[in-house]
């Protein structure tokens, strides 16, 4: 066994260094950063276009100074209730000039702004007109008019408020149910992305040896099962390097946030943050080894890059299927579907990682890890055997061996 593991370590060392010690790995390592940069640049462009349109949008109020002051005060208070990005267009105050109805109609024809709704007529006979797409703006102007009227009826001076309350921020002791589910889904999604990115690499890993004929040297020197395990461990090392790099950056980023920041307070999984992160790493390892072993064995059956490309598609579908199953489980914790996802070996790591966000019990994780370890052993054993057949492309078939054994013939 020691010899077997030592031989696997030689293969793992070669594969790890051959991958990590190349300029291409830097590109691979920084790939998420490039994606982020491109997304940011693209998003900024889209936002600039949207912002330039939003800046021209207006709600117009034609009112004398006193009424305008009440409307402005109401706008200042009510606008604060809207989240950033969905607030109503800016309110422009205009002084009445001549026929107010004509003035109001003329607002919609202005070339410098896009007025969507107009309030005019003063507090005694208020009127609101709106153009296409301006119904929401018109409703907002109605709220402003009602608030101004209530303030006037209460005898408040313009600018004064009816009630004076200072909102007090309170830190939650427990995360919300929705927050925990979101956290669970986020971890599930990250694990899925990582296995999609990293475990998928194992499909093509043998193409190098098949292409340069080194496979014959490996097959002669060490058991192909050791080659299989070595390659799996080598690429797992690459995956851990990737995660360590980005994990360190993420931890550094979080450590810079204030303790009461929203992002930090949301990170309160039911099982505890430290345990949750530890479990996430373990479940990533399980998911990687399970899926990576299958993909490595499947990839060994291919003889060319074209065949590997053809194999990659169903493999991606399979991964998407596991993600879908685990996502459905995360959305309905405790359901039958969740139990299926937690028990099915290939979706279990993802589903159980999500469960840690909303369920404080530790024992299901211990049981799940034991269950997954059993399947890792089974998949590696079966995968290595299949890998051997795929690499050598010779020897009696499995069924022929059984037949020969039944008839007492040598195989």
């Amino acid at each position: 066994m020691t010899r077997y593991l030592r031989q696997a370590a030689v293969i793992a060392r070669r594969d790890f260094l051959a991958t990590v010690g190349t300029p291409a790995f830097i590109m691979f390592l920084l790939a998420p950063l490039f994606m982020l940069v491109f997304a940011t640049v693209g998003g900024s462009g889209a936002r600039m276009i949207a912002d330039s349109g939003n800046q021209a949008r207006r709600l117009v109020v034609i009112a004398d100074a006193g009424y305008a002051e009440r409307i402005t005060a109401a706008d200042r208070r009510i606008r604060g209730a809207f989240p950033v990005g969905v607030a109503p267009p800016r309110v422009d105050i205009r002084a009445p000039q001549g026929d107010i109805a004509i003035q109001a109609r003329a607002v919609f024809s202005e070339s410098t702004v896009d007025a969507s709704a107009v309030l005019f007529g003063g507090p005694d006979a208020p009127r609101i007109q709106f153009a296409a797409g301006g119904r929401t703006g018109a409703s907002y102007l109605l709220i402003l008019a009602e608030d101004a009227a209530r303030a006037a009826d209460s005898g408040l001076e313009p600018g004064a408020t009816l009630v004076s309350i200072q909102p007090e921020p309170i830190a939650r002791v427990h995360a919300t149910i929705g927050g925990r589910q979101s956290l669970g889904f986020t971890v599930l999604f990250v694990l899925f992305l990582l296995t999609l990115l990293l475990a998928g690499q194992t499909v093509s890993v043998l193409a190098e040896e098949k292409g340069n004929k080194v496979i014959e040297i490996l097959a002669a020197a060490v058991p192909l099962e050791a080659v299989f395990l070595g390659k799996l461990i080598g690429l797992f090392g690459v995956a851990l390097t990737f995660i360590a790099f980005w994990g360190t950056i993420a931890m550094l980023g979080f450590s810079q946030l204030p303790a009461d920041a929203g992002a930090v307070s949301a990170l309160r999984p039911a099982i505890g943050l430290g345990t949750f992160l530890g479990l996430a790493v373990i479940y990533f390892a399980m998911g990687y080894l399970l899926l990576g072993a299958v993909f490595l064995a499947v990839g060994a059956q291919a003889n060319s890059m074209r065949e590997i490309q053809m194999l990659s598609l169903p493999i991606t579908f399979f991964q998407m299927g596991m993600f879908g199953l685990a996502s459905a489980a995360a959305a309905r914790p405790g359901s039958t579907l969740a139990m299926v996802a937690e028990l099915f070996p290939f979706s279990s790591p993802f589903a159980m990682a999500a469960r840690g966000a909303s369920d404080p019990a530790l024992w299901p994780h211990i049981a799940a890890i034991a269950w997954q370890l059993l399947w890792v052993a089974i998949v590696i054993a079966v995968g290595a055997r299949w890998f051997r057949k795929g690499v050598l492309k010779s020897g009696p078939s499995f069924f022929r061996r059984i037949g020969a054994a039944l008839h007492g013939k040598p195989v």
């Binding site: 293969i11 040297i217 050598l392």
Partner: protein
């Protein structure tokens, strides 16, 4: 099996689908000898070697390598140069050799040290830190060969080691094989070039069409054919043929025929009496080539020679 035999294989059979690639091959390799497996392309040499090493299992038959019937358990005592050469192109020469040693249980540091010595001795010391992709085909082939012996194996298997090497490197390889034998290792190599086998091998197997045609020492192989006489008469009389053995073959102005069981004396007397005279006469042991031709047929040999010409041209 005793220590006398490094390898004993009997009745090896291997089928690929409906095709029988190897059909009952027996091989016995004495410890410390150089053993050749001869045969034309497609004869089943590589499949036989792969079975002997445990890379693939035979469908039937028995094999015992270095005292075990499970060859893979002694892989650290075995060196192997496959027919299809392969190295990681981005590895440095010294690392590639150390890597192959590490696969066979040699510590990396020791492998690097030995690699430097081996490269220096092979005249490749200047390429120690070069990447494999920068080496010529012959050089990289030699690097792979050094990788197969860096762990100082007891049993070395070289599949068509001379293929693709220029005459200078073929000479180097012959020297290396002899050095390994002198070190105490057993060397088994396959080839379809008779001259190498004749010069190096103590014992050999001839395989054709998946079947074993001969197995034994080179001397015993030659002894399977009678001595060959080359006779050149003083005249060019066609009637001379009647005085020679029926299987005599005319080659330019000479005649070639097996020495009769009764000896040459009576025939020579008749030739002198009939006035044909003796312009030249030599009696030679049959070559390995002659044995090979007798075993596998002239047509197969012609095909092999054509392959060889193509290989040299390439």
């Amino acid at each position: 099996m005793t220590d006398q035999w490094a390898l004993v294989a009997t009745g090896l059979v291997k089928d690929f689908g409906s095709k029988r690639a190897v059909d009952g091959v027996d091989i016995r390799v004495p410890t410390g000898s150089i053993y050749g497996v001869l045969g034309p392309n497609g004869a089943g040499k590589t499949t036989t070697l792969r079975m002997l090493l445990g890379i693939i299992d035979p469908d039937s038959g028995h094999r015992e390598l270095l005292g075990t019937t499970r060859p893979r358990t002694v892989s650290e005592r075995v060196g192997y140069l496959p027919e299809e050469r392969g190295l990681y192109s981005n590895m440095k020469t010294r690392e590639a050799i150390a890597f192959m040693g590490a696969l066979r249980g040699l510590p990396w540091a020791e492998g690097r040290k030995r690699a430097e010595v081996l490269l220096e001795n092979a005249g490749l010391g200047h390429a120690t830190r070069d990447k494999i992709k920068k080496l010529s085909k012959g050089m990289s082939q030699f690097v792979q060969l050094l990788g197969s012996i860096v762990h100082q194996p007891e049993f070395i298997v070289l599949d068509e080691p001379f293929s693709g090497l220029d005459p200078v490197n073929q000479g180097r390889l012959e020297k290396l094989i002899l050095e390994q034998r002198d070190r105490g290792a057993t060397v088994l190599f396959s080839t379809h070039i008779m001259a190498h086998a004749e010069r190096l091998c103590d014992r050999l197997a001839i395989i054709a069409g998946g079947k074993l045609r001969y197995e034994g020492s080179v001397d015993e192989a030659r002894a399977t054919l009678p001595m060959q006489a080359h006779y050149t008469p003083r005249d060019n009389d066609p009637a001379l043929a009647a005085l020679l053995p029926a299987d005599a073959v005319r080659e330019n102005g000479s005649w070639r025929f097996p020495v009769p069981d009764s000896g040459m004396e009576a025939m020579l007397g008749t030739l002198l009496e009939s006035g044909h005279g003796i312009a030249g006469l030599s009696i030679e042991r049959p070559s390995l080539h002659d044995v090979f031709v007798a075993l596998v047929g002239e047509k197969t040999v012609e095909e092999m020679e054509a392959d060889l010409v193509r290989e040299i041209a390439a």
